[in-house]
């Protein structure tokens, strides 16, 4: 069964009023405008359309916002430690070791001129005092854990020699080898076929239920989030429209309680069970961003 956040324990992540601003020559672009949430040992989904600020939220937590972006927050705590008060060196120590991120596309996120095994071993050795042999053994075990059948063969392959699904598993292995408490997965499966997608989700799911990891699952796919996550944050224009239990996304009887944006997103999906002549389109209300 799912083990949800233990109430007595401090949340893994506690964020209040997170803002990400980009200072551009033509003015300030607010990518994230006052986002607050806590993350326990659970699967938290963040959904929204492109430009809603969902990826920026993940990057802000890791201190990976590029120039000229500026991150501000009233509170950003990782297991009680104040992330805002840390310098970039301390943040770097957390990154990868305690909080990791799986990017969307393995093709662009792996180093093309190193074998995948070496990259996984490197991720391990950065955070642990270990020799090459131990790192190699750990990496092989990790590859096996993400369901790669011949780890010893795959270890010596270059990124262009592995398929998309395998590349994504390599990325996940690399992110998990340091055993982080929080994994941020930014559209980890949207470049993959449905059947491979389900295998990857199974791996992530096991990590949450068996190791008690906290997972932030960023996605634009409402069906997937609804079937996979415990809770869901719906974002639009950098703001949270609503936070709800994932099961309620599909619940027809709970529709009246839903935010109009969430409903709009759900309605405009084609549905095999509800054939319609014309799909409803989304009417955006400027008041949502007020």
């Amino acid at each position: 069964m799912r083990n949800l956040a233990n109430k007595a324990e401090a949340p893994l992540l506690d964020i209040d009023n997170l803002k990400v601003d980009f200072h551009t020559p033509t003015g300030i672009v607010q990518a994230v405008r006052g986002l607050s949430f806590t993350l326990g040992r659970e699967r938290l989904g963040i959904v929204g359309e492109s430009g809603s600020g969902k990826s920026m939220t993940g990057r802000a937590i890791l201190d990976l916002i590029p120039h000229p972006g500026v991150v501000g927050a009233d509170r950003m705590l990782f297991r009680g430690q104040d992330l805002m008060a840390m310098d970039s060196k301390a943040r770097r120590k957390l990154r990868g070791r305690h909080i990791s991120m799986v990017m969307q596309d393995p093709k662009f996120s792996l180093n093309p001129v190193q074998t995948v095994g070496r990259q996984i071993a490197e991720a391990y050795r950065i955070h642990h005092k270990a020799g090459t042999r131990e790192a190699r053994e750990r990496s092989l075990a990790m590859l096996e854990q993400v369901q790669i059948r011949e780890p010893a063969r795959v270890y010596d392959l270059y990124p262009h020699e592995v398929s998309g699904g395998m590349g994504q598993r390599v990325m996940i292995a690399m992110m998990l080898i340091a055993e982080p408490e929080i994994l941020i997965a930014d559209e980890p499966t949207s470049a993959l076929d449905v059947t491979v997608q389900l295998q990857i989700l199974k791996i992530l799911d096991d990590l949450v239920s068996q190791r008690g990891m906290g997972l932030i699952f960023i996605s634009h796919d409402l069906h997937l989030v609804q079937s996979f996550c415990d809770r869901v944050i719906v974002m639009y224009g950098g703001k949270v429209m609503e936070t709800l239990p994932a099961a309620e996304l599909a619940d027809e009887t709970a529709r009246s309680r839903r935010h109009p944006y969430t409903l709009g997103l759900l309605n405009c999906l084609p549905d095999l069970d509800r054939p319609r002549e014309k799909l409803p389109t989304l009417n955006r209300d400027p008041a949502w961003l007020a």
Binding site: S50, V194, T195, L224, P270, L272, P275, K278, L279, P280
Partner: protein, 250 residues
């Protein structure tokens, strides 16, 4: 069949040693919307590229509206059959205005009233006339895909080949583009072949579909079969189950 818009018989395509489409046969009726479904590497996009004349290395027989097609197509063919590609960010020339993009097919086919046709194509896809002299980077993804559709429609074809036309778009924009494609089909009696990995999109847009795997046809079915979850083959069933989201065991 005489009334078939597209008929494909024993189509085979190989790239070097890999045989990517194997003995594929199907027919699409006049005015029908037909879906090609499968995972990456199933050969569905290759089939479209053969139909559109982009891939000239194939064997088998392809007939469009009853006329058997040679490997190198006649100019008139391209007036009748047009394609819309997956990625609206990659399929429009970044240094050409929308006007240039829409004028080029007209110039190639020596059509005179370009001015009026471009204006009409833009209004048909619901873009304001003021967009005509913009560049692709000044448009959103959904607007770009509308331009790509306008480019295909400006020659008034009767067959549109759609290669994942909405997979790069947000769901709300996807709904707009799908509505536009449906409306255009009904207005102009167009025939569509829609390639997609999204069964719900195919279910919404098509009357029949073909499930492909490793370059072979696995199962052809009516959309009703999909909606009633009754495919015959295990693979089609598996795709359908996988598309319904994640399931925890126990």
């Amino acid at each position: 069949m005489t009334n078939a818009a597209i008929s494909v018989e024993k189509l085979n395509v190989s790239f070097g040693d890999s045989h990517v489409v194997k003995d594929l046969s199907f027919t699409v009726g006049q005015g029908e919307s037909y879906g090609l479904v499968g995972e990456s590497g199933s050969g569905k996009s290759t089939v479209l590229r053969v139909l559109s004349g982009l891939n000239r290395d194939w064997s088998g027989a392809v007939a469009i509206e009853g006329a058997v097609q040679p490997k190198t197509r006649a100019k008139a063919f391209y007036r009748n059959v047009q394609m819309v590609f997956q990625d609206p960010y990659g399929s429009l020339h970044p240094k050409k205005t929308i006007d240039d993009t829409l004028a080029e097919p007209l110039a190639i086919h020596g059509i005179r009233d370009a001015e009026a046709r471009i204006g009409k194509a833009l209004s048909d896809v619901g873009l304001p006339a003021s967009f005509r002299f913009r560049y692709p980077h000044q448009l959103s993804g959904g607007q770009r895909q509308r331009v790509a559709i306008a480019r295909a429609l400006v020659l008034e074809p009767s067959i549109l080949l759609l290669d994942e036309p909405t997979s790069a778009l947000d769901v709300s924009i996807q709904a707009e583009v799908l509505n536009l494609l449906s409306a255009l089909r009904h207005e102009r009696k167009l025939t569509y072949i829609l390639v997609s990995h999204d069964l719900a999109v195919v279910g919404h847009m098509c009357e029949r579909l073909l499930v492909m795997q490793f370059g072979r046809a696995v199962e052809e079915m009516a959309v009703g079969t999909l909606a009633s979850r009754a495919p015959q083959t295990a693979y089609a069933q598996q795709l359908l189950t996988a598309s319904e989201g994640f399931k925890r065991e126990g």
